[in-house]
Structure formats: C-alpha cells, structure tokens
Subunit: 142 residues, 2 copies
DNA sequence: TCATTACCAACCTTTCAAGTAGGTTAATAT
DNA sequence: ATATTAACCTACTTGAAAGGTTGGTAATGA
C-alpha cells in the first residue's frame, strides 16, 4: 500500500473544498459529513494541510477552511507528500541519506529509482482541478 | 511503502539464482550469505516462490534451489505478486470485489486506477534477466 | 548412518495506521 | 459582555501487519 487513508482523505478534502470554494470558508463539519469521514480524524489530517500551507483556517462563527490557491495549482503529489511522510515505493529510497551498505553493488536499486520516477511523474502531473466534477477528466484516464 | 522487504529480498534471490544458474542447485545458505539475509527469514520467502512454481527445491546433499525457467521469462511484477499479496497503491483497488460504497461517485478512483496501471506497466516490463550483472541495463534506466 | 539440505508450524516483537477523547483559544453575532 | 461557533492542541487506544526467531521433521547422497 503506497497511499494510506490519510492521503486519500486529504485529497478528497481538497477536492471538496475546490468544489465549494465559492462559498468562502467551509467548516470542517460540513466536509466531514459530505465525505463521510469522522470529524475528529479529519481534523488531524486537515492540520497537516494547514501546516503545509495549502489551505488556511479561520476560527469562530463563519469560519472554516478554504484553499489558499486555486485548484489547478495543487498537484496530487504535493498534497500526498504532506500526509504520507514518503511516497517512495521501497524503503531504500526513503529520506535523504538512507545509506544502505549494499547501495553501490545493488542490482535492484536503479530499477526502484525508475519505479519511483514513474510514480512521481504520474502524481505530479495531475492537479486537484483535474479531479473536480467540473473537469472532464483529462490526463489520468486509462 | 508499496514493496516490503519480503518482495525486495525475493527479487534479490531470483537475481542471485539467475547469476549462479550454471552451478545447478544452489543451497539457501549460500544465497543468504551472499545476500546478507537471515537464513531463517529467507526460508519463509523462498517457500512462497516455490509455491508459486518460479523455482524448485531439491533436498539433501547437493540439493538447493534453482529457477524453473530462464531469467528473461520472469517479470519483476510476477515475482513481487508472489510475496506481496497486493501491488495496489491504495486499499480501494485491492482484492477483487472490494465494494466501497462511494465507488460510483468517487472523484479519485479513476486516478488511482491510472496510477495502478502505470505501476503495473513498469513492473511487468522488466525481467529478472534485465537485473543481472550480465545485462547492460535496459528499459528501466532513468 | 551421518551430514546435509529442504520443508513445516508456531511464536515473538516492534511499529504504524487509524481512530478516540477531551480540552483550549479565537472570532463573531446578539 | 456573553454565548456560540469553530479551529486548534495533546494524549491515548486499538488492531494489524511487517519483520523476524525458535525448534523441529523429512528426504537425499556419500
């Protein structure tokens, strides 16, 4: 499993907010209801997105969350990287200086790097806008 | 993490056996030493590969394991599917009839399917032979 | 018959995903 | 001012899975 529920939910939140961005700040409660996700759990996910500056929160009555930029400015990869720690397909490619002692002689490492690139290329070239209802469904269709 | 140590080790075993296939049956002990993997743990991984018929074991003195077919007949994907249960990038695509109630209306599902395809296409088009020392390193190089 | 080697079953330990629970601070409408 | 709304914060729980270990049994060749 490359992408956990956290990542999947994060994306769904982004799409939901994109589809309701004309309404100003949208309370978490509404998103949770529409998306059928527990408010409390969603809270912990949204916190990561706020910290990552891809959405901003406003407290108090009339408050809620909204996207800081427009939907086509967020790649799916960028969203997932905020919740997933790592999108690397194998442990060997995680972090920065993971030094596997076999690295230099490893027969499989280049192949894993290739897989990593294929995944990154895919996820970084789809935007949140591509996933909204208003979009006809472009690049990613099989 | 899409691929666990089990899958990575399995691949390294296959490559090791491919590179030593002229020597007839190769004992697990030798593979474990060369690959720096605990014998006991490797045992449990090899069991899966034998069950999957991609290598055969022979008991007793002079025994060990060898590939049942030639290295270019095994795709990386085929090997990994024997150890990994699922290569699906998200839970929604696992198993056969996973019925997420939101499936029909899901904004993200087609995108996940696309990701799954990209990964499958990559892993199914590299063979164990491509990963051996004798190979110049073809398709998968970045 | 003995060393070798594959095969088999059960258990352990640590980590992490996934989710709960309960409280605190800030903004706004009345 | 004060009640209400809603974001923000910290800590805990639970279950499953990854990543092993331990201790055996069965076949084979010298």
């Amino acid at each position: 499993m490359l992408i956990s529920t956290k990542g999947r939910y994060a994306l769904r939140v982004m799409i939901d907010l994109a589809e309701h961005r004309t309404e100003g700040y949208v309370p978490l409660k509404e998103v949770a209801e529409r998306q059928d996700i527990s408010e409390k759990y969603l809270e912990s996910i949204i916190k990561l997105l706020v910290k990552g500056k891809i959405l901003t929160g406003l407290r108090g009555k009339g408050g809620g969350y909204r996207l800081t930029k427009s939907p086509e400015e967020y790649s799916v990869g960028a969203v997932l990287r905020l919740t997933e720690e790592s999108l690397a397909p194998v442990a060997c490619l995680e972090g920065e200086s993971v030094s596997c002692p076999r690295m230099s002689e490893c027969r499989t490492l280049p192949m894993w790097r290739g897989l990593d690139k294929v995944i990154r290329d895919y996820l970084d070239n789809i935007t949140v806008a591509d996933l909204t209802a208003s979009d006809s469904g472009g690049n990613y269709v099989i």
